[in-house]
Amino acid sequence: MSSEVEKIERREGRGIVVRGDDIDTDRVIPARYMKSISFAGLEEFVFADARRAQDGTPKDHPFNEARFEGASILVVNKNFGCGSSREHAPQALMRWGIRAIVGESFAEIFAGNCTAIGLPAVTAAGDDVAALMDVVELDPASPVVVDLTAGKLTSRAGSAPITMPAGARGQLLDGSWDAMRTLLAARDEIERKAGSLPYPGNFPAR
């Protein structure tokens, strides 16, 4: 864990496109690859079932394509990251090299997990996402810029507004996305709160 505060204002890099709505976290990282007590090595299994047949032969998938190697801006459609709360999903993406995700919409727990690990997940309008997907596929070497300060996305397709929940955006911009230190700073208030809750009996031991 870094004690340095990293402000995340802008991400720039090449794009990679994964099309489709409702891509759940089981698909981003199938459960059988979570059998570990660390996140190390998860990048190898990102989209595992979509990328490889059961006998191991590669299938057509953007994460297998040479032209997307080194990409850092993932572009997706609606409700990306629905389902399981597994942080393994954004961890696998980030360890693969993804530094920002642009999509039409995200599931809530997934978006929260992204923020907590400093991975901006920003939304853009359907038409803008479609245009971005097209230019990235056409010219994967062209740069994509996600500018959180300006609330703007820039690519060969032009410039488009992006949004994200105000609180999460604030956390990235002011460097409080790794929330533990911020939360712990209110230690006295936490203890007062714990003491003042009217919970009956407070979990009597058996």
Binding site: R27, Q54, R169
Partner: protein
């Protein structure tokens, strides 16, 4: 002007407002399991911190446990390693651990209520999306990721934005053969799998009022499948009766006093809501999913929808679903041949679920060629079911009777689909690959419907049995 339970609980637990506009929210109860916690504990140790409130933290093991035998060491070395990590962490930090063999182990969302830990008016977090289950008691309960597990371990708090509250009113009696599972599948079908994003769902109305706690848990369990991180039912006599006498529930005078406080936390009659929807329970029949998300469902007597019936945005997913499932628009779901029948998971593995399934199975046999298993949600449920002789009913019919765990709900253990097997399942997710085979197929339905499918070898209408 009154207030909703959600807002009362949120305000009560707010420690302070953060500069980002988020709330620093105190977490009254933290539940921990072996899959999403080891990295959280590691981060805690790396930061040289301890667990701030071990007395508010409880652990169990569920996802990776084999259900054929709980004997140690677990045959799978990685699973054993995960279990040992949790045992070490629990011991080191003084966290009560419902370990296998303790008599109290089980799926985290089953044992919280069973132990009386889950109580009205609380905030509850767990590194698991189905934490919404605990909302059945009038708690505000939600899933978090592993970094947030670390945050709760270290600070007993989370930084969160307050969601809006939608009252989902379902009124009317349920027809014969219609269960809580059908109600929640129907709600998701109507409101969409993304409809609840940004909302807490308050499930209200005469249908939920009439439900048992176990049924309410089934409903709240799947709030997240409708996109709502939180789902809850206001506490009432049914809630209090369930909690009375539970090991970790308040006892004696504490309990009587608790009832007063719990009642005061329920939504007021004039509480404002950000949104309201009304659903007529009479419209709900036994419901079965046919696709690759829990919103893709039909009544068991309906035919599968034509692609033209889907809004533009949903058509591609529907096409993908038909491709994966090997089903076609216009097909009847009734009569679809199944390979596996799974009764279990935090949605439907409680005693009442097993009783209903046993009622269907009694005196019948699992169809030839069908692999059928019943996996109780906890060691306690297994014991109670055996006292009633339910295991004999299932075994006599050809079901396997297993040890408690998540089992084939997500297949992080030896229970898995093979190849493109089609499974009638009482669990909560029909995502591609969810049950352990990338080409496996899942039809979600109530436990009674799974039992009916098991004996017929095909999707059946439980009302016809």
């Amino acid at each position: 002007m009154g207030e909703s339970l959600f807002n009362k609980v949120w305000d009560l637990h707010a420690v302070r407002e953060l500069p980002t506009g988020q709330t620093q929210l105190f977490i009254g109860l933290h539940l921990v399991h072996e899959v999403t916690s080891p990295q959280g504990f590691q981060m805690l140790h790396d930061a040289d911190l301890g667990v701030l409130c071990p007395e508010r933290t409880f652990a169990t093991v569920d996802h990776i446990v084999p259900t054929d035998t709980h004997a140690r060491p677990l045959a799978d070395g990685l699973a054993e390693q995960m279990l040992q990590a949790l045992e070490r962490n629990a011991k080191r930090h003084g966290i009560e651990f419902f370990d296998i063999g303790s008599g109290d182990q089980g799926i985290v969302h089953v044992i919280g209520p069973e132990q009386g830990l889950t109580q009205p008016g609380m905030t509850i977090a767990c590194g698991d999306s189905h934490t919404s289950t605990h909302g059945a008691f009038g708690a505000v309960a939600f899933g978090i990721g592993t970094t947030q597990v670390r945050d709760v371990l270290a600070t007993q708090c989370l930084a969160l934005a307050r969601p809006a509250v939608r009252r989902v009113e379902v009124d009317g009696p349920l027809g014969p053969g219609v269960y809580a599972k059908d109600v929640v599948l129907h709600v998701i079908r109507v409101l969409g799998i993304q409809g609840g994003v940004g909302y807490a769902y308050e499930f209200a109305g005469s249908t939920f009022d009439a439900m048992s706690m176990e049924e309410r848990m089934t409903v709240c369990n799947m709030a997240i499948e409708g996109g709502a991180r939180v789902g809850y039912v206001n506490p009432d006599e049914t809630t209090f009766d369930f909690l009375r006498g539970r090991p970790h529930a308040p006892a004696g005078d504490d309990f009587e006093n608790a009832i007063g406080w719990w009642r005061s936390m329920a939504s007021d009659a004039d509480a404002p809501y950000d949104d309201r929807v009304a659903i007529d329970a009479r419209q709900i029949g036994p419901t079965v999913t046919w696709g690759i998300n829990p919103g893709q469902s039909v009544g068991v007597d309906e035919t599968l929808p034509a692609l033209s019936e889907f809004p533009d945005g949903d058509r591609a997913t529907a096409e993908e679903a038909y491709g994966h499932m090997g089903l076609r628009p216009g097909d009847k779901i009734l009569g679809t041949k199944i390979d596996v029948a799974f009764i279990g998971s935090c949605t439907n593995s409680r005693l009442s679920d097993l009783r209903e399934a046993a009622r269907v199975v009694r005196g019948r046999s699992v169809a030839p060629g069908v692999r059928a298993l019943v996996v109780p949600g906890s060691e306690a449920i297994k014991r109670e079911a055996e006292q009633e002789g339910l295991h004999e009913v299932f075994r006599a019919a050809g079901f396997e009777w297993r040890e408690a765990g998540c089992s084939m709900c997500l297949a992080m253990n030896p229970d898995k689909l093979v190849g493109n097997e089609l499974c009638a399942s009482s669990s909560n997710r029909n995502f591609k690959g969810r049950q352990g085979s990338p080409t496996g197929r899942t039809l979600l339905m109530s436990p009674a419907m799974v039992a009916a499918a098991a004996v017929g070898g095909r999707v059946a209408d439980v009302r016809d049995l």
